[in-house]
C-alpha cells in the first residue's frame, strides 16, 4: 500500500471575480522512503496541492478528490482527526521563513509544543530534544539560541529552525515547500542532507516543492511537473532531465543554466504567461505558449504512460 495516494484532486477558490481553478484532477502516489519533487512556475498549483492535503486551504478554498494517507482519506477528516496526523506523521516546512514563525513566542515555546502535544514528553525532555534538533541543523549555541525570539535570527537561521521543527517528531511524510529558496548555497546543501538523512534513517517519504531543479537532482528520485493546476509530466529524475516529453518540461529545463551542457548553449525563457485560472481554456493549457502547438491541441490530451512509468500529456509524444 502506498503511504500517500492522491486521486482526482481538485482545488478551487471562490473569489469576487469568479472561481479560481488552482488544481485540476491531480493524481500521484508516494511510498514510504520515496522522495517526490513537484516543480512548476508560481501559480501552477503546487503549493495549493499540499495545502489541500494538510487541510490548510484559505477559507474561500474548497477541495474534492481523495488523499489517502495510510489508507485513510485526509480530505474527509475532521480538523481534530487531522490534528492527530498533522505535525506528528505529516510535517510541513513552509517557504517563507520571515513570517512562518510566531514573532511573539520564543523558539523554545514554538518547538517544544509539537513534541509535548504529540509525544507526551514533559517540558525538560521536550526541550532537550529541541536543543538536539537545533544542533543538528547547525544553529550555533542552541542552548542559548532556543530562548531567543524569531526576529533575533537571520532569514537563513529561521529557515533552519523551521526545518528543525518539521523534523522533531520524525514524520513519515515530510512536505517541504521551497525550503531552501531563501538560503545561500552552503546552507541549501546542508538542509538537503538533513532531509536525505531523515529519509534514510526513518524511511520517511518526502514531497519537495521547488522550482530549483538543482536541488531536485540531489534529493529526489521522482519528479512531477505541474502547469496551470495540472500534472503535465511525471517520471524519474533521469527521465525528466534527460528525456523530457512535454514541451513545457523541455522549456523549463532550457530556462535553467546547467553545467553539463556546452558553455554557449543559449538559455530560453518560456514566452508568454500562464493562463488565467479563472477561465482555463479547453484542450491543452500550454498550447498558447507552446512552440509545437498544432490543431489537435484544442482537444484535451490524455495522460500517456510508457513502460518506464514515465507519464506525460501531450499529443506530440516523443521528444524532438
Amino acid at each position: 500500500m502506498s503511504l500517500l495516494e492522491v486521486k482526482g484532486l481538485n482545488v478551487g477558490f471562490d473569489t469576487p471575480e469568479g472561481e479560481v481553478h488552482a488544481v485540476n484532477n491531480l493524481n500521484f502516489s508516494l511510498n514510504a522512503g520515496d522522495a517526490l519533487a513537484i516543480v512548476g512556475e508560481s501559480g501552477s498549483g503546487k503549493t495549493q496541492t499540499v495545502m489541500a492535503i494538510m487541510g490548510l486551504l484559505a477559507e474561500n478554498g474548497h477541495v474534492n478528490g481523495q488523499a489517502m494517507f495510510k489508507g485513510k482519506d485526509l480530505l474527509q477528516m475532521s480538523t481534530s482527526e487531522l490534528n492527530k496526523h498533522r505535525g506528528s506523521e505529516i510535517a510541513m516546512i513552509f517557504q517563507d521563513p520571515m513570517t512562518s514563525l510566531n514573532p511573539y513566542l520564543s523558539i523554545e515555546k514554538q518547538m517544544i509544543e509539537v513534541v509535548i502535544h504529540h509525544q507526551g514528553l514533559n517540558k525538560a525532555e521536550a526541550r532537550a530534544h529541541a536543543v538536539e534538533m537545533l544542533r543538528a541543523v547547525r544553529i550555533p549555541d542552541p542552548e542559548r539560541s532556543i530562548r531567543q525570539y524569531p526576529h533575533e535570527f537571520s532569514g537563513g537561521m529561521r529557515q533552519r529552525v523551521i526545518v528543525a521543527m518539521g523534523l522533531l517528531c520524525e514524520p513519515d511524510l515530510l512536505i517541504a515547500d521551497e525550503p531552501t529558496t531563501a538560503l545561500d548555497v552552503t546552507v541549501q546543501t546542508h538542509i538537503s542532507h538533513l532531509m536525505s538523512a531523515l529519509r534514510q534513517n526513518s524511511n520517511a517519504a518526502i514531497i519537495l516543492i521547488t522550482h530549483d531543479l538543482g536541488v531536485v537532482a540531489g534529493l529526489c528520485d521522482r519528479v512531477l511537473v505541474m502547469y496551470a493546476g495540472e500534472a503535465v509530466e511525471c517520471g524519474t529524475v533521469e527521465q525528466i532531465y534527460y528525456d523530457p516529453k512535454h514541451p513545457y518540461t523541455q522549456g523549463l529545463l532550457n530556462s535553467v543554466p546547467r553545467l553539463d551542457r556546452p558553455e554557449d548553449t543559449e538559455l530560453h525563457a518560456i514566452p508568454g504567461n500562464p493562463p488565467n485560472l479563472l477561465s482555463l481554456p479547453e484542450g491543452c493549457k500550454f498550447r498558447d505558449r507552446c512552440p509545437k502547438a498544432y490543431a489537435a491541441c484544442t482537444e484535451t490530451p490524455p495522460m500517456q504512460i510508457d513502460e518506464g512509468q514515465h507519464a506525460h500529456c501531450c499529443f506530440r509524444g516523443a521528444s524532438e
Partner: protein, 305 residues
C-alpha cells in the same frame, strides 16, 4: 468591514491570476464598486441624503415656527389631530420643527468644524512630511504632546474662558481635532515623497507644484475622504456633548445635544421630547460611521479594521 466580501489570502495565486491585464479598471473605479457592494454603507448614504433634505426643507414645509408656543398643547404626546406629529415640549413648542432646526446646527457644526480641522491638519501634516528631517521631528513631537492632553477638557476650558458662542464651538472643536489628520497626511506625504513615481516625475522636469497637484493630492484624497466622513460624526458628538452640559449653543438656538438635554429633564412626563431628537442624533452618527467604514474598506481593502 462588517459586510464587505473578505478576500482571504490565496497568496501565491494573485500574481498568476492575470486579473490585472484583462481590463484596466482604475483604482477609483475599483473602490467605487467595492463601496456599492457594501450595503450598510449604501443604505446609510441614502438615509443621510434624506436626513439632510429633511433638515433643510422640513422646517419650511411644517406650519409651526420653532419658537411658537402652543399653549393649548403643552407637553402633548405625538398626534395627528393636534398637528404636532411628534408632540410638543413643556411650553408647547413643536418637537419636530425644533429637532429639524437643531439638526441644521448640529450638521453645520459637524461640517464647519471638520473643514477647520481639515485645513489645519492637512497644511500642518503636509508641511511636516514634505520638509521631513528635523522640522518634521519637532512638529510631530508637538502633535504627540497635544495628543496626550485630555482634549475635551480643553474644549470645555475654552468655552468657559471665551463664552459660549457658536463660532467658537466651530473653531474650538476644529482646532483640537486636527491631530489625527496631521498625522495621517504627514505619514502619507512622507512615504509618497520618496516613491519612484514621484522621483520619475521629478526627473522628467515636472515642477514641484505640478507634482503636488498631480501626484500627491490625488493620492492623499482617499485617506482624507475617509477621515472626513469619520470626523463629522465625532464633531457632532462633541458639540452635542457640550450642549448637553449647557456649554454649547445657547437659546434660542438649539442643537440635537441641547434638545436631548431638555428632553432628559421632562422624560418622565413627556418621553417623546427625549426620544425624537435622540433618534435623529443617533441615526446620523450611525450612518456616518457606516459610510466612513465602507469608504475605508473600499479604498484600502487590505485593512480589515
Amino acid at each position: 468591514m462588517t459586510k464587505t466580501t473578505d478576500t482571504p489570502a490565496i497568496d501565491p495565486f494573485e500574481a498568476a491570476l492575470g486579473i490585472s491585464d484583462d481590463k484596466g479598471r482604475s483604482p477609483w473605479e475599483d473602490a467605487w464598486h467595492r463601496l456599492l457592494k457594501n450595503r450598510a454603507a449604501v443604505y446609510s448614504a441614502y438615509i443621510m441624503a434624506f436626513m439632510i433634505m429633511l433638515v433643510l426643507l422640513g422646517p419650511l414645509l411644517i406650519s409651526w415656527e420653532s419658537d411658537f408656543t402652543d399653549w393649548d398643547h403643552t407637553s402633548s404626546p405625538p398626534s395627528l389631530q393636534s398637528g404636532h406629529w411628534f408632540g410638543t415640549d413643556s411650553v408647547g413648542r413643536d418637537i419636530l420643527v425644533r429637532t429639524l432646526e437643531g439638526g441644521r446646527i448640529s450638521l453645520l457644526v459637524g461640517l464647519v468644524a471638520t473643514i477647520v480641522s481639515l485645513l489645519i491638519g492637512v497644511s500642518y501634516g503636509a508641511t511636516a512630511g514634505y520638509f521631513g528631517g528635523r522640522a518634521d521631528r519637532i512638529m510631530m513631537r508637538v502633535v504627540d504632546i497635544i495628543y496626550a492632553l485630555p482634549f475635551l477638557f480643553f474644549i470645555i476650558l475654552l468655552m468657559v474662558v471665551f463664552g459660549r458662542h457658536i463660532l467658537l464651538i466651530f473653531v474650538a472643536i476644529g482646532a483640537i481635532n486636527w491631530l489625527d489628520m496631521a498625522r495621517i497626511v504627514r505619514g502619507q506625504t512622507l512615504s509618497l515623497k520618496n516613491t519612484e513615481f514621484i522621483e520619475a516625475a521629478r526627473a522628467c522636469g515636472v515642477g514641484d507644484w505640478a507634482i503636488i497637484r498631480r501626484h500627491i493630492v490625488p493620492n492623499l484624497l482617499g485617506v482624507v475622504m475617509v477621515y472626513v466622513t469619520l470626523t463629522i460624526p465625532q464633531v457632532i458628538l462633541i458639540e452635542s456633548f457640550l450642549s448637553f452640559l449647557g456649554l454649547g449653543v445657547q437659546e434660542p438656538m438649539s442643537s440635537w445635544g441641547a434638545l436631548v438635554s431638555d428632553g432628559a429633564q421632562d422624560m418622565e412626563s413627556a418621553p417623546w421630547t427625549l426620544i425624537v431628537p435622540s433618534v435623529f442624533l443617533t441615526a446620523t452618527l450611525y450612518c456616518f460611521n457606516f459610510i466612513g467604514d465602507g469608504l475605508r474598506d473600499a479604498l484600502d481593502p487590505k485593512d480589515h479594521f
